[in-house]
């Protein structure tokens, strides 16, 4: 083997074989702070957008934005969104989309309401709702994956279909669950702890667990690879279809929890439960820095995106602007975030 034939892989930085032989890898990101910023730049960018937005609101109306009531109300409704935003980050990373989660929220919480109304323990209702969510997620996922349908259209169809089913059977009637307030399930999942709505702790736990699943678990690793290059994943022995169905099942579970929580806040199940979440939740995922093309994403960014979107409506009204400004600011934040992320993350091919 002639020495001259060997390429000098170190040459870009002017090193020589003698110096580098046997040395460990080195990298600019070995500085932990720089590495942390590089690895989390999408989430940090979203956080920056949120901080700027809150600063603007606070300057506009310092009184309202320093009272606890405002935050308390956001912290009650925000967890419902978080339980679907986070699984949706997995779906989008996998290269799919799920628009059927609002109907899944409604359907699963309907099962919860039926079980509770029939006099069973709410814990049993929660379990039944989660099983329903899993089954619906499996149904939607199988339809998309094994039926070979476009997830955009198929899940939109399933959203209408399931919601229609709920409406047909219930004929628009809601279900009041007045006995819920005395139950243990309510105390654990929907009361207040030192004035803080307890839902937010469950939601934070869910976000942390999901972030670990995404970054430190085989499931997250395979979701990213499948979204990035399904052919390669298939060739390397990953069951691509199974991974895809799993992310839809995950959304089903998240939607079931979200639906149940929203019913527990209101003590009432409406046939429209979950409907209002479609667009804010989708916006949260993308404001959070998960790109549309699949392969990469950020769970923590998605969560921060959900916080941002939740505060827009409350913030605009509290800042003294009329409700007519809400949609305008929603759009403004979405567009500004997307521009920021575009500048922030390169797409590798």
């Amino acid at each position: 083997m002639s020495k001259t034939m060997e390429p000098d892989l170190q040459s870009p930085l002017g090193g020589t074989h003698g110096e580098t032989a046997g040395k460990e890898w080195r990298h600019p990101s070995d500085n932990w702070l720089r590495g942390f910023i590089l690895d989390n730049r999408a989430a940090l960018g979203t956080l920056a957008v949120f901080i700027v937005m809150m600063a603007v609101f606070m300057i506009a109306n310092p009184v309202v934005f320093t009272t606890w009531y405002l935050y308390s109300s956001v912290l009650t409704t925000l967890p419902v969104a978080l339980f679907v935003v986070v699984p949706l980050v997995f779906v989008v990373t996998c290269g799919e989309i799920d628009l059927s989660f609002p109907a899944t929220m409604g359907f699963a919480s309907w099962v919860f309401a039926l079980v509770v109304q029939a006099g069973y323990d709410p814990f049993l209702g929660i379990a039944a709702a989660m099983v329903t969510g899993m089954l619906l997620g499996f149904l939607v996922g199988s339809l998309v994956v094994y039926g070979g349908l476009s997830s955009l259209i198929a899940t939109l169809g399933m959203n209408f279909l399931l919601r229609g089913l709920i409406q047909i059977i219930n004929e628009g009637r809601s279900t009041a669950l007045t006995g819920l307030a005395d139950s243990w399930a309510y105390k654990i999942f929907s009361s207040q702890l030192y004035g803080i709505p307890v839902q937010i702790f469950w939601a934070i736990g869910f976000v942390v667990l999901s972030a670990l699943l995404y970054n430190r678990h085989r499931f997250g690793a395979q979701v990213k690879v499948v979204g990035d290059n399904p052919d390669s994943a298939q060739q390397m022995g990953i069951d691509v279809k199974r991974v895809r169905v799993k992310v839809f099942v995950f959304v089903g579970i998240g939607a079931a929890i979200a639906g149940t929580f929203s019913v527990m806040i209101n003590f009432t199940w409406w046939p429209t439960a979950g409907d209002g979440y479609l667009l804010p939740v989708l916006a949260s995922v993308f404001v959070g820095g998960t790109p549309t093309w699949g392969g990469i994403g950020t769970v923590v960014g998605g969560a921060i995106g959900a916080v941002t979107v939740s505060f827009i409506q409350t913030g605009v009204v509290a800042a003294g602007l009329s409700g007519f400004y809400v949609q305008f600011f929603n759009g403004l934040i979405i567009i500004l975030s997307l521009l920021g992320h575009k500048w922030n993350q390169a797409r590798y091919r």
Partner: protein, 265 residues
């Protein structure tokens, strides 16, 4: 004599009336780099697919380490230690080097949590083994930031992690610049030095001539020439032979090709 990793004997493959391969013999020994040369349509890709078990030959025999194998399949091929690295679309470019090397074979502990540090250490070791060290990149760098040659290195490291004895490189240098090609050659030599074998497929004769210990020229589904490196004086010999194969009778290069052809038989 070195151990014979795999031998294809008298392999034929026809799709209906069309012959893709007609009685091809090919063998690879441990620690050698075999260069498989052929023009488009010569049957290279059919041969690779047969090697990797994706396509079943119409007739012929496959021997793994000297023993005939029945029921050849992708699983059998992997068990025999054959890994094919395709030219493109083999890597998930938005993921880290680590995630690509352990794609589908993640190192996990209880309940499927990744052993992140162990994966990084193992990836580091694999990359060093094929001579891929760098000040710029770590196992946690994104593959999309790597050059074409370095990406081939990641794919080769992954094949080695999968305990490959024979790595089939499908046109690894076709789309690469000279410096990138040199990087791939560097990896190939390291792999050979570690006692593994490489089947290097290409249609750039200069590339194959520079790296291979033995040449197999495929033409219209038949082996037109097999020659050891010592039997071929220069890349021009091979080129002349190829020209003769492409344009038989009366054209320049006939004489040289005649010599080479004799060497083959």
């Amino acid at each position: 004599m070195a151990e014979r990793i795999i031998e294809l004997r008298d392999i034929s493959k026809s799709y209906g009336q069309v012959y893709a391969l007609g009685g091809v013999n090919l063998s690879v020994d441990r620690g050698e780099v075999v260069g498989l040369i052929g023009d488009n349509g010569a049957g290279k890709s059919t041969l690779i697919k047969i090697l990797s078990g994706v396509v079943k030959p119409t007739s012929g025999e496959i021997l793994v380490r000297g023993k005939p194998v029945t029921g050849w399949s992708p699983a059998r091929s992997r068990d025999a230690g054959i890994e094919t690295v395709f030219q493109d679309r083999a890597l998930a470019v938005q993921q880290t080097i680590v995630r690509n090397i352990f794609m589908g074979r993640e190192l996990t502990s209880w309940l499927g949590w990744l052993k992140v540090n162990k994966e990084i250490a193992e990836a580091s070791r694999l990359m060093r083994e094929i001579g891929f060290t760098s000040k710029v990149f770590t196992p946690q760098s994104i593959v999309g930031q790597l050059s074409g040659g370095e990406r081939q290195g990641v794919a080769i490291a992954r094949a080695i992690y999968k305990k490959a004895e024979l790595i089939v490189l499908d046109e690894p240098t076709t789309a690469l610049s000279l410096t990138e090609t040199a990087k791939v050659f560097h990896f190939v030599r390291q792999v050979r030095a570690s006692g593994r074998s490489i089947l290097f497929i290409g249609h750039n004769i200069h590339h194959v001539f520079d790296i291979a210990d033995r040449f197999v020229v495929l033409d219209r589904g038949k082996v037109a020439l097999t020659a050891d490196r010592s039997e071929v004086k220069s890349a021009e010999d091979l080129i002349n032979f190829m020209e003769d194969v492409a344009h038989p009778s009366g054209l320049p290069g006939l004489h040289d090709a005649g010599d080479a052809g004799r060497a083959a038989r």
